[in-house]
């Protein structure tokens, strides 16, 4: 890293921003291929049972209709290997049209393909599907585990510690199903060239998507290309591929022309994942000073009939607080719903709602300040893994936040703080997210036209990945950002990571840095070894590249030679560096996590039970920020999502046919601008150099964890009502006046 970087940690505007706001960025659904046909999926209208009969005769006679595909007439598809580590994980592992079984409402039962979208849509309305329906099991009222725990973390002896604890708490929390709903809906365009398949996608993991495609369609990986250059966000629902992608592929193969299948908003609620419901019982034991002696966390979580998706809520329990006796177990219960999938901050987001709420309840019970109770239980090391943390500054986050938010002004008495007609409530919570690094390979090319190109088959979900990568190259070479072209989202490029788990930045930047250095080294060698070069015979070790120019160590950049002139010496089109990096060895010796603290103020008008968020501050200990603008944007966006989780979001399934009844943006409530006050966020600057040279971690998810419990704690402080099942609704608060 350059000693005084002009780009790292600065407020850098997205390099792809102009393209996006001017319509110049091609999203997956927007490629207009020649002779393209449109496929419209038909979702089941029952929640469980089997397809008795499909009559497509009328539809097939309609103008422009090319095919109606269903389980009775399609080629066999295979189940994928289903391995996250090997980058071959599907969203739903059951391929479409596998058989006549229906496992959830909205499961694809047929695909109508026609020469225009409108004709396909019209014909889809004429396909008659008869079912033998059963009443689906979608209720969360009774969750009875049948299988052994999916996750289990244990240390010490929880039972005896609980029974002997002087202070006890036994509470149950619930988080509802949430649906991701990124702005850009799912879509696939499939096109074949002989035996080679290209999928234009909206994917958070083109390599993973390519690998699963090869397995499901029984192709070689080399025969599949997945392209996803611009993505209108994903929040996790685009991490793993879903059935519509394979439907497009088989339709395109059958018809020998490109086929586009897009998923309408209503089906975004059924066939492309959701955050599952959780019921979490927490039993705490503590001494009179609030020091934890026992922590028992039992999680019940529904998944689909076809997949064992684990929303791991037990993981955070083992590392967040110091406590000698801990037990966290999680059970899966199969229901007639689609397969859940990670949603921003999976596991820790629902988990921290429960854990942090319980900590607040403990603080209230013992009349200890909520910040203080956390400091008393501060984990100096990861007691679950028995490892030191690579870099943890959560104490500073609490302290900075408390000071900047005016926490000391908080009167702990419920309902004691008022402003006009409104009662103020102040709440806080911890947030945390693991810092991880996977494998990545990047090619960086110094080109004769004076630009630098980087390519990697990872992708920018909309978070600023393009920009952050360009900053690293600019930092290493001094080439300005407008001369750097980052190419992502295409499996033709060197394989990169999935954009998930907040790991893409930390994963790819070491590879970019090293590939850039390698390309620069090649350039310096050319400079030193080419006759006629101004640096002929200079030891390349004494050469440097700064400001985009090659110069001698000790000389100014201005005195140097622009790098394209060096390439010209040998008439080179460019010079490449290509490097593959892996997780650092330190990952096995240290527990790596980001931490932070939310501080939230709510204003409550008791007479009309109106709750609003009035102030918010989040302090993040997330390593070094590469770009202050995109980082802030991630945290503020996550808080908005957290407000949604706390106050609005819930996908509601009808108990008779399993349909999510609020499957549109008028009925599925997310925050609007009027719900959000000015949000503030502070980054503590503690680079985590054990993770990578830049000390950078990802920050896409941490901001959402803990938000909901900060809100419900503030609600309790204002109203005396403890909401243990999200979202906080008007009906929870009507009893207060």
């Amino acid at each position: 890293m350059a000693e005084k970087s002009t780009v790292i940690g600065k407020e850098i505007t997205r390099i792809d921003g102009i393209l996006k706001v001017t319509g110049g960025a091609p999203y997956g659904v927007e490629y207009a291929l020649e002779n393209m046909a449109w496929g419209v999926g038909i979702g089941s209208t029952i929640g469980a049972g089997r397809i008795a009969r499909i009559d497509s005769s009328e539809a097939e006679k309609m103008p422009g209709v090319l095919a109606v595909l269903h389980h009775g007439n399609t080629e066999k598809l295979f189940r994928p290997a289903n391995s996250f580590e090997e980058m071959s994980r599907p969203g739903e592992s059951r391929p479409p049209f596998e058989d006549d079984q229906v496992y959830y409402y909205g499961q694809f039962v047929a695909l109508v393909v026609a020469d225009t979208f409108e004709r396909a849509q019209a014909a889809a309305g004429r396909v008659v599907v008869k079912y033998d329906a059963r009443t689906p099991d979608v209720s969360t009222a009774e969750l009875t585990p049948k299988d052994p725990p999916a996750v289990k973390n244990e240390r010490g002896d929880v039972e005896s510690a609980l029974s002997s604890a002087p202070v006890k708490l036994d509470v149950t929390y619930e988080t509802p199903v949430e649906t991701h709903n990124p702005m850009e809906m799912h879509a696939t365009i499939a096109t074949w060239n002989k035996d080679k398949l290209t999928l234009y996608e909206t994917s958070q993991g083109v390599v993973n998507h390519r690998n699963v495609a090869a397995e499901v369609l029984n192709l070689q990986r080399e025969s599949v290309q997945v392209i996803s250059r611009f993505i209108g966000s994903g929040f996790g629902c685009k991490l793993f591929p879903w059935p519509h992608s394979w439907m497009a592929a088989i339709a395109s193969k059958k018809l020998a022309r490109p086929v586009k299948v897009s998923v309408p908003r209503s089906m975004m609620f059924t066939t492309v994942g959701h955050r599952p419901f959780t019921r979490q019982r927490i039993q705490l034991g503590a001494d009179k000073d609030g020091k934890l002696t026992a922590f028992h966390h039992e999680i019940l979580q529904p998944t689909s009939m076809v997949d064992d998706y684990v929303e791991n809520c037990a993981e955070a329990t083992s590392m967040l607080y110091a406590c000698p006796n801990v037990r966290a177990v999680q059970y899966l219960i199969h229901k007639n719903i689609g397969t859940p999938t990670p949603m921003r901050g999976p596991g820790r987001t629902p988990s921290l709602f429960a854990i942090e709420s319980a900590m607040d309840e403990l603080a209230v019970k013992l009349n200890i300040d909520p910040v203080e109770v956390r400091i008393r239980n501060y984990a100096e090391m990861d007691e679950g893994k028995k490892m030191p943390f690579s870099s943890k500054h959560l104490r500073e986050a609490y302290q900075t936040g408390a000071e900047k938010f005016g926490w000391s002004q908080r009167n702990p008495k419920v309902g004691s703080m008022t402003k006009g007609k409104e009662i103020l409530g102040l709440g806080m919570a911890t947030c945390t997210w693991p810092a991880t690094r996977h494998n990545a390979e990047v090619r960086v090319s110094l080109l004769a036209d004076g630009t630098v190109r980087a390519s990697c088959a990872t992708q920018d979900v909309g978070t600023g990945t393009y920009t952050v990568f360009a900053e690293i190259i600019s930092d290493r070479t001094g080439v300005p950002l407008d001369k750097i072209r980052v190419q992502l989202g295409d499996t033709a490029m060197p394989p990169g990571p999935t954009s998930g788990g907040s790991a893409a930045t930390a994963t790819v930047i070491p590879a970019i840095a090293q590939a850039t250095d390698q390309a620069v080294q090649s350039l310096l060698k050319v400079a030193a070894l080419t006759s006629g070069s101004p640096f002929e015979k200079v030891d390349p070790k004494n050469l440097k590249m700064t400001g985009g120019r090659v110069h001698k160590e000790g000389d100014s950049a201005e005195s140097g030679t622009p790098f394209p002139d060096i390439l010209k010496l040998r008439d080179l089109s460019g010079l490449d560096g290509q490097v593959k990096t892996e997780a650092p060895p330190e990952a096995k010796q240290f527990s790596m996590h980001s931490f932070g603290a939310h501080f939230c103020e709510v204003a409550f008008d008791p007479e009309i039970a109106r709750l609003r968020i009035s102030r918010w501050l989040t302090v993040i200990d997330g390593g070094r920020m590469i770009n202050m603008k995109t980082s802030r944007n991630q945290i503020l966006g996550a808080i908005v999502m957290g407000v949604g989780m706390a106050m609005f979001e819930e996908t509601i399934y009808d108990h008779r046919n399993g349909k999510p009844v609020n499957n549109n943006f008028a009925d599925y409530i997310v925050p609007v601008n009027a719900d959000i006050p000015d949000l503030d966020c502070i980054f503590l600057d503690f680079p985590d150099n054990k993770l990578n040279e830049y000390g950078a971690r990802g920050i896409g998810e941490i901001g959402l964890t803990g938000c909901a419990s900060a809100v419900t704690s503030a609600v309790y402080h204002a109203t005396g009502v403890r909401v243990r099942g999200l979202p906080v609704r008007i009906e929870n608060l009507l009893k207060t006046a």
Binding site: A122, I608, I652, R656, A666, I730
Partner: protein
Amino acid sequence: MYEFQYTKANDVGQAVSSVAPSGSKFVAGGTTLIDLMKLDVERPKLLVDINGLPLDRIEPAGDGGLKIGAMVRNSDLAHDEKVQRMYPVLSQALLSGASPQLRNMATTGGNLLQRTRCYYFRDVNYPCNKRTPGSGCSAMDGFNRIHAVLGTSQHCIATHPSDMAVAMIALGATIFVTGSKGEHSIPITKFYLLPGSTPDHENVLAPGEIITHVTLPPPAQNAKSHYLKRRDRASYEFALASAAVIVELDGRKISKAQVAMGGVGTIPWRSPEAEHALAGAEASERNFRRAAEAALRGAKAHKDNGFKIELAKRTLVRALQTVTQA
């Protein structure tokens, strides 16, 4: 979706004759109708586009009131200087509804006739007496948090979701229509029909009749008005409960009150009970609460919407407090 015919009308007479064949419908802003056509809930054979009709004026009426053309957009009506001055309750109600984009399209006539947001009405795979008479009511045993507590029947508990209509019914608007029976007018209080055993009959409009305009009576000298809407989020959501109030004060005494509620009734809900309780009473919290109790006296809760009864009362009390503040 499916095929349908489309024609554009240039004057009211042509509109009425075009729409005569059964299965025809007028389309104004289209924000209700096109939405429901995409869901196959509305299936007109012919759409008669009335956007070209000269019904987009807001003019003083002879009696000192206001005449509002059926094609006046919700945004234009909300921001009209006369409306803001004479009927703040109407402007506030309009601005609390939908989003700016929708209000730019939505029309006065279309808003009065918008259909319910009941989830089960909007999905042809569920039984619904309003959509398919006699098929049953899926909301009764379904998720019914947004449903009505007033004016319900065993056949339907859907709310009429309009905010504008709640203000208009409080103001005592008159709806002017033209059709096979010629031109005539209907007081808005007589316009909407309770579901009873025929929830598919939502109003007294005869088939093919067009709404041409709405008139509002002149506001009383000392009247003040206000609209308060409660919902989960702060904007862009239908009402869980709302109150439109117009109050004439004589000192601290209420000489006259007009009260209507939204989000709780199967139709925009005028409350003579509340008005009666308030007439002649002191403007006090106790009396407001009494009026609110009277307004919700007949309320019937279903599984998920019981909270609306208390919420509606509190909303009405706050609206009355606001409007009677010195």
